[in-house]
Amino acid sequence: MGTAGTSSFNLGPRLTLTFATLIVLILGGNALVVSQFQMTRNETDRLTGANQQLIAVLRLQANVLSFHRRLDELARSMDVSRLVTGAESLRGTLREQTQQTRTAIANLPSGTVVDPLFLPTLDTIDVALPGEIDAIVELAKSGDWGAIQPRVANELSPNEDQTAILVDSINRQASGELARAVEETRSIQRRILIIVPATALATFFIATFFGWSIARRFIELRLQERVGERLRIARELHDTLLQSFHGLMFQFQAARNMLPRRPENENAMKVLDEAILATEEAITEGRDAIRDLRPAEITQRNLPELLNAAGHELAGSQELNGHSPNFRVTVEGKQQTLSPMLQDEVYRISREVIRNAFKHAVASRIEVEIRYDEDQLRLRIRDDGKGIDPKILKAGGQSGHWGIPGIRERAERIGSRLQFWSEVGAGTEVELTVPAAMAYEQRRDGRRFRLFRRAGSDEQRS
C-alpha cells in the first residue's frame, strides 16, 4: 500500500536483473560466435603458411633442376668463353633465386612452422653451387672437358636429392595441416550450430519473460494508481461530503427542535422528520460507498474470507425481503497468496457477480468455487436461479441491471478471462480465470527462476 502514490515508473530489482541477464546473454552469445570465427581464421592462416612454404620449396626444386640442366648444357658446348659468361649469369640467377626463397620463408604467416631442413638446404645450395661453378670454369679453362661432364652429374645430384627430401617433408606437413584444418573447421561448424540456436533460445525465453514482466509491471502500476486514486476519493468524500451531510442533518434537527409542539406545525414537523431520516439514510449510503472505495486489501484478508463476508452481508440484507439464498464458498487446491492489487480487483469483480445473483437471480443456492491451480486462479460463481436470457448476455447485459460490461472491462484490465453460461430457468455460471504468473504473489518468482536456470544450463552445455 505504501507505494500507491508512486508516480514515476520504477523498474524494480527483478526486472533490472532480467534486463542485465538478457544483455549479458546477447553479448556472451555473440562473443562465443566471434571466438569461433577467430579460431577459423587461425586455422586458415596455418594452412596458408604450409601451402606457401610448399610453393617456395617447389620453386626452389625447379630452380635447382633448371640450374643443373643449364650447367649441363654449357658443359656439353665445349666452348670456354660461352661457359664462362653463361656460368656468371647462372651464378647471378642462383643468388637471386635463393634470396627470393629466403624472403618468402621470412614472410610466411606468423605461427607457420618452417621445416628445420629448409634453411640448411638453402645454405648448402648457396655455398656448394657457386663453388661448383668455379670448379667447372677452372676445368674448362684447363681444357679438361672430359672431367666436367661426370663432375656436373655427380656433384649436383646430392643437392637435388636434399631438395627432394625437403619437398617431401614440407608436402607431408602441408597435407597434415590441411587434414587438421578440415577437421577443426568441421568441429567449429558443429559448435556454431549449437551456440547460435542455444543463445537464440535462451535470449528468446528471457526476452519473453522480460517483455511479460514489463507488461505485468505496467498493469500493477496502473492498478496501484487506481487504488491510490480511489483511496484519495474515499478520504475526500469522508472529510468533506459526509461531514457536510452531518452538518445539514444537525440543522434540520435544529429547525425541528425550534418548532413549538402545536397542531398547525404538525405538517412542517413531519416534513422535517422525513428530511432528517433521508439524510441519515444518505449518510449511511455514503459511508457504505466510501467503504467500497477503500481497497479491500487494507483489511489484509484473503480472497475466500473476503468473498464469504461479502456473500453473508448480501444474504443478511436480502433476509429483510424474506428471501435469502443459501450462500457457500469452497476452496480447491493449495491456497496461494494473491498479489494485493489483483486480489482487490478479483474481489470486486466477484462481489459484483455475487451481488447480481442475490439481486436478480431469485436463486435458492449461490456457490463460489475458488480453485488455486498450478497455472491459473479460477473462480466459478453459480446460482440455480432464473438465469439470464442469452440475448441479453450477448448484448452485454441490460443497462442498469446486470453490470456485465463493467465487470468485463475490469476483468480485461487485469489480464483475466470472464465467461458466462446461462439458460433461462437453469441458473447462471460465471467463470473468471487469471493466469498464475499474474495472480500469485510468491509462486511466480520460483517458476520464472526455474525457467532461468534451465535456459542457463543450456547455455553452459554449449
Partner: protein, 223 residues
C-alpha cells in the same frame, strides 16, 4: 472563524444569565460546526460562545471563554482532539468535554475517556443525543451511547496492547514482514515475533491479518 458575540464574552454572560449552558464547539469542518451551532442555539438554555477548527485554537478559545461544555472532534489537522483534551484538562481540571466523532471502536473511546472526556457521541447520532448528553454531563454524569458501552464492556477485561505492540500492529497493517518491522523499529526479529505472539493472544486473533482486522475495527489502529 469564531462566532463570539458581545453578549457571551467572558464571565459577564455567566452572571447575567446564570441558567445558560455556555458551549465551545471544536471541529475542522465549517458546515458541521454550523449544524451544531444551529442545534445549540435553537435551545433556550444553551449558548454557543465560541468555535475552533483545530486543537491549538480550541485551547486558546477555552482560555478566553471558559465554556461550561466543550464539544471536541478527534480527527483534526495539527493538534488532534485527544491532545487538546489533555492540554485543557491539565490547565482546567473541571472542564467538561464531550467527544464527537465518526469513529467507533472501544480503543478509541477508551483513549478519549482516559484523557478525561465526559461523554462520547458518534456524529451520526449527534442530532438525537447531543442535548441530552450535554444536560447529563452538566449534572456531573458520564455518558456513553449504549452500543459503545456494550463494546467497551466486552473488552473491559482484555489485556491491553502496549505502545510497542500497537506500533508493531500498525506496521503489520502496512503489509510489512517481521524482518521489515524489526528494521524499522530497530529491534531484533525474535523480539518482533514475541510481540506478534502477544498481539495475537491479547486480541484473540487467529493470524496476523485477523489481528489487523480486529485492530482496525476496535480503533486500536487507524486506516
Amino acid at each position: 472563524m469564531a462566532v463570539d458575540s458581545g453578549y457571551s464574552a467572558g464571565q459577564v454572560a455567566m452572571s447575567s444569565v446564570p441558567s445558560m449552558i455556555r458551549i465551545l464547539s471544536v471541529d475542522d469542518h465549517p458546515l458541521l460546526r454550523k449544524g451544531i451551532a444551529s442545534l445549540i442555539n435553537a435551545e433556550p438554555d444553551m449558548k454557543l460562545v465560541a468555535e475552533a477548527s483545530n486543537g491549538e485554537e480550541a485551547i486558546e478559545k477555552f482560555r478566553v471563554h471558559r465554556p461550561d461544555v466543550t464539544l471536541m472532534d478527534l480527527q483534526m489537522p495539527g493538534l488532534n482532539g485527544i491532545e487538546a483534551i489533555n492540554h485543557i484538562l491539565a490547565e482546567f481540571p473541571d472542564a467538561l468535554i464531550i467527544v464527537l466523532t465518526t469513529y467507533q471502536g472501544d480503543a478509541q473511546v477508551l483513549r478519549a475517556l482516559r484523557a478525561g472526556a465526559r461523554g462520547y457521541i458518534l456524529k451520526g447520532h449527534v442530532h438525537r443525543e447531543l442535548l441530552e448528553t450535554i444536560h447529563s454531563v452538566m449534572q456531573g454524569r458520564k455518558r456513553i451511547p449504549p452500543d459503545i458501552a456494550e463494546e467497551l464492556a466486552e473488552h473491559a477485561t482484555d489485556e491491553e496492547l502496549s505502545g510497542r505492540e500497537i506500533d508493531v500492529l500498525r506496521l503489520i497493517a502496512g503489509g510489512n514482514s517481521n524482518k521489515q518491522i524489526a528494521d524499522q523499529l530497530c529491534i531484533a526479529e525474535t523480539t518482533v515475533k514475541s510481540h506478534v505472539a502477544n498481539i495475537l493472544s491479547k486480541l484473540s486473533a487467529s493470524d496476523r491479518s485477523h489481528a489487523v482486522t480486529i485492530g482496525l475495527k476496535r480503533g486500536i489502529i487507524e486506516v
